[in-house]
Symmetry: C2
Subunit: 507 residues, 2 copies
Amino acid sequence: MKTVLDLKPLVAYLREAQHLSSAISMISWDQETYMPPGAGEARAEQLSALEGMTHQMRTGPAMQRLLSKWVDLKSGTLDGEWDVPSRALLREVWRDYDKSVKLPNDFIRRYGKAASISQQVWVEARKKSDFSLFAPNLRTMVALKKEEIGYLGYKASPYDALLDAYEPGMTVAQIAPLFASLKKELAPLLEKIVQSPVKPKKDFLSLSYLPERQLAFGQQVLEAMGFNFRDGRQDISAHPFTTSFHPTDVRITTRVDEHDLLSSLFSSIHEGGHALYDQGLNPDHFGTPLGEALSLGIHESQSRLWENGVGRSKPFWKHFYPILQKTFPEGLKGVDSDLFYAAVNSVQPSLIRVEADELTYNLHIMVRFEIERALIEENLPVEALPTVWNEKMQASLGLTPDSDANGVLQDVHWSGGAIGYFPTYTLGNLYAVQFFNQAKKELPDLIGSIEEGNLLPLKGWLNEKIHRWGRTYSSEELVRRVTGEALNPRYFIEYVKEKFGEIYQFS
Amino acid sequence: MKTVLDLKPLVAYLREAQHLSSAISMISWDQETYMPPGAGEARAEQLSALEGMTHQMRTGPAMQRLLSKWVDLKSGTLDGEWDVPSRALLREVWRDYDKSVKLPNDFIRRYGKAASISQQVWVEARKKSDFSLFAPNLRTMVALKKEEIGYLGYKASPYDALLDAYEPGMTVAQIAPLFASLKKELAPLLEKIVQSPVKPKKDFLSLSYLPERQLAFGQQVLEAMGFNFRDGRQDISAHPFTTSFHPTDVRITTRVDEHDLLSSLFSSIHEGGHALYDQGLNPDHFGTPLGEALSLGIHESQSRLWENGVGRSKPFWKHFYPILQKTFPEGLKGVDSDLFYAAVNSVQPSLIRVEADELTYNLHIMVRFEIERALIEENLPVEALPTVWNEKMQASLGLTPDSDANGVLQDVHWSGGAIGYFPTYTLGNLYAVQFFNQAKKELPDLIGSIEEGNLLPLKGWLNEKIHRWGRTYSSEELVRRVTGEALNPRYFIEYVKEKFGEIYQFS
């Protein structure tokens, strides 16, 4: 039986390619954090040049030579007997390779150029709140995605080809019933919340809170989570994100608003959850799929587990609220921990996805999922989007956007062609609760330790059960291995029913 | 007559390669500024991987194919009739190519590894102030440099092959008499200064000066110099340096010490001078030699011109001293501008090069130049270095180091194999004064504008005369074109005689 050791030349090559990819990540990080404003044009040219080199390294003759020693490049069939890790490594390397070579160079260039222009037009259109400015570019992007689907191929739905880029193996046939059952439960639950006479007070969250102190508190929470500042850092950027150059160099960003006590804190916890995943990957496998995160959905499960499961929980605030109150004695004067907990978990239908609460967030995702399917599967014309969007928002959330900017133009994703990405956010929410539920079973004192501010047992459990495996297993296999069953929305549904039932007093 | 436009495919390729080189520069910048401490090992591996890729791009088959269309790869002879810029471009690209391919891959690997270890050992040896710990590694580095000379070849002296890497075209035959004539003048001048009863007071420079205010003042000076913060930035690092990713992204660093008013300021002006060169390169020629700095000596001339010619001049402080005094009213109470000017220009033989004044600095360089020649030309054994060093320091500066750390171990250069680098510092000093002298002739109101704090005429002149030409001309040609004659130490000698004669009152 052959092992990863037999793959030495391939692994060495992949590490080199990954160092180049990490250079791209660092340059992108710099672009969002420290780049002087005049450098934008040269930076775009640089990124495009380096991306061309990476693509060449990952699909060119050198790669083909190395990979074809063990894998049939056409079918992906392995040659010889391999142990589990090396079989996974070859399977996933081939998967990436196969996806990349299917796309003609000419298509990649056209796509890159169109996406770059489309994103710029989207920025302008959103500023002017005028979808018609953006429609021609979006039409181009949708056409390009359909062309891409033609190259990639699919079995049941053309949308599956797009989903697969973000959540490998996931299909419409799996997601559609999952989302339907979720919606069936969330809609009446939201109705109950909206009808409830309980309205958590939260005006105090927008008093004045010194940014430096917000950041210091966030850092304290990150340290408690086990984010390793020896192997990472936090900076400021316009939009929070996590990036990783190596498990020993994982960086998160946040933004801080004096009049929003929660924004920076929850962004730090959210990105911190992503970062723990990246810091928890096995550095010995750096550059190979065994040292890479599994999927966007699993990645998002880590951020959501920390942000919502931990950061919006009673046990967490039992320890941290007194500290927060000491940090901001004026702003939080007279706010007791129950009041604060309710404010942090207040549910309210709203127009903007990124500002949505834990519950309605998923309804926002479903609006996008339905529209994406219609665009790809049913050739819904792009022009119809504002109307369709507004109708779906009204039906799901009882609100009709007052403008395109607050409606169909709010998200950047489609402008760059990221269709099929949105569902991973809700998948992340579902995975998160299912994982957390399992952790509570396996670590009987988990809640007790969180109440004491000790978050390390949870981090250790996630390291052990999820992070260290990289892409050894598929998402489906991983969920089964960790929780003993397939992805099941029941855990999420029970969790929100119980939590919001208590807060809104109708359980 | 063919032009640069005929070289389009080569230029496009060189730009791509330069984008990769700039990625290396950014990663190195990050290493010195923001990298988390745990990332060192992965970072070293990444840099080595990317350097291998750059070397491959610049010497491999793709490069050969492109370059050989117009240049005979063996001899460097151009094919066809070319205008001045394209001739320069091809000449310099071939020069770089030829130097790179002469070194076998195996040698580059051995050298890289030995240099990396040697630098680590040097850090330890300096910490323990024990040259004998470092001697074996230095012996290896000297042997490797000799091996390198064997690959590169030379005409008159083997040391020329090393010089050429830092100051193309420069030879021992040119430098040795230049340095000798300089030394002949500096030694008696220094003697007069040491004997002078005038001893500028400078204890006030080490009072407490708030770091943030120091940085703000330095930034004000950088802005006055015309450093463009739209196309660059300043950060903090342990050792100040300048790096450039593109003329629109030039970064300098500084360090700041509460008890040293001059350290951060003069480092900012020095690095600012380097940065103006890099920001002044022609962005249309980015990636080709026409858009690159000419040599270390010319680069250093820009930093020294600003640091010493401007920053240690009376006209400069006429405008800036009142501002500095307002910034630090306590520390500079009772210090008038004459006293401050004398303190800034105080001359005193000392042990450490980087802390040396404008005059004795060159004597430090000559000690190193003589030892380097002896190592390379006369096979001076490495073991003899501490003794030789101390003797030469005593002979030149009248001081014998109290320890290896303050003597032969003080500089990082040799540990990494940078032999032949030191002379460019003094060449920079000489070029600087000769250039500045010419600027004063051509801009009759130059001093007047500096006295008003308007440094932009000087910047504009340097942009026009030096920066925008890149590597179009050799250093020798450039100096002739700008000043009408070859490099001439007379200007420097006259400058220091006049300046220090006045300060020390013996002129």
